[in-house]
Symmetry: C2
Subunit: 204 residues, 2 copies
Amino acid sequence: MGVAQRRAREKDELRRKILGAAAELFLEEGYQNVSMRKIAERIEYAPSTIYLHFQDKVQLVGYLCTETFAELDRRLEDIMELGLSPLETLRKSLRAYIDFGREYPSHYIFVFCTPESLFKNIEKESCQAVYGCGMSSFERLKAGLAECMHAGVIREADLELTAQSTWLMIHGITAGLVTCTSFPFVDKELLIEHSLDRIVGSLQ
Amino acid sequence: MGVAQRRAREKDELRRKILGAAAELFLEEGYQNVSMRKIAERIEYAPSTIYLHFQDKVQLVGYLCTETFAELDRRLEDIMELGLSPLETLRKSLRAYIDFGREYPSHYIFVFCTPESLFKNIEKESCQAVYGCGMSSFERLKAGLAECMHAGVIREADLELTAQSTWLMIHGITAGLVTCTSFPFVDKELLIEHSLDRIVGSLQ
DNA sequence: CAGAATACTGAACAGTGTTCAGTAAATCAA
DNA sequence: TTGATTTACTGAACACTGTTCAGTATTCTG
């Protein structure tokens, strides 16, 4: 009975259409610009239809972020497979992280710069998906640092502490550049490389 | 004619009441929790009355942030006047910055972690007040770094570049700790001190 | 062809920031 | 003490927001 399969396919198609319309709005102006009614109008369905596919707005945008952060993960994986030295790999990974955030500011801001108070009356499940977005890339950072320690190219220290501290720093670079768009930063390329020099240097 | 003065005083009193009610709501749950109707109810006035004292919600919350960031400025000034060595002063200032952010998460997040797309249809004037909140403390950081360079306790380098890079890093510590409240950080005290070691160390 | 399952909608609820005509009170000039 | 004017304030409305749910219309099944 191919009916069930066709139905599932149609359901998935509509789901993708919703995600597509939401992605457009999200890319344009971030989370606040995504509205159920705007999505509904773009895909020519009633707003309530969206709730047959997603339990709330956070889950919907969360899916967009999960998908996009998977791209970061792929990039980090690609770097790992280049066969560079542990330190070069680490440095390239940190740089890729910053570049990713600057390429997808809406996603980065939503995942890492949104106060959790915004998720007050939201299903726990939806929120956890958002929190989880960056976890895999953090694990990669930790692994990269572990390799450097093992190779003896950075100082031996508590891995978790070192990883969290390092993440906080590159998060600062990324978040600062991405949210404070009207701050008169010096040449951003120079600023990033200088900061990476300091961050990596302070590991040695 | 004392009438005009009394009127001005009464106007200022109501203004302060509005700010007071807004401050409560802002402290509790951040910007999203501040609503004109909630404020109005607390002070027993109509919502529209608020607009006789503030041109929009951003300006209202912006005033709260300006006032609170002045407190950071005082703290940094106090540290400067302790007569410590340039490096100790710098370190204490960075620490005070992070502590401030953790003490006033709503203010810190609103000023530094809010995407500017949220201020789309808002009066420019209101937004500029928000952007300006942290400027004075950034200037102090720059001055502190200049003193260190002058004293020869940190490496000589482009001051603006060094200051921006340093700010991005402590911003990362602050913002990360304050927004990612459900991330399983290691002991935060240790994490902050370790990160400061690295940040200050990478200046030398 | 009747009945069950599925897909979808329209209207409503409760909230948001903001505007503005209109009212009520206080002050001033005659 | 009037009448005019200024000031303070409000209520209702506008245009949005996320979300829910009874009800309809369509499609598939036995």
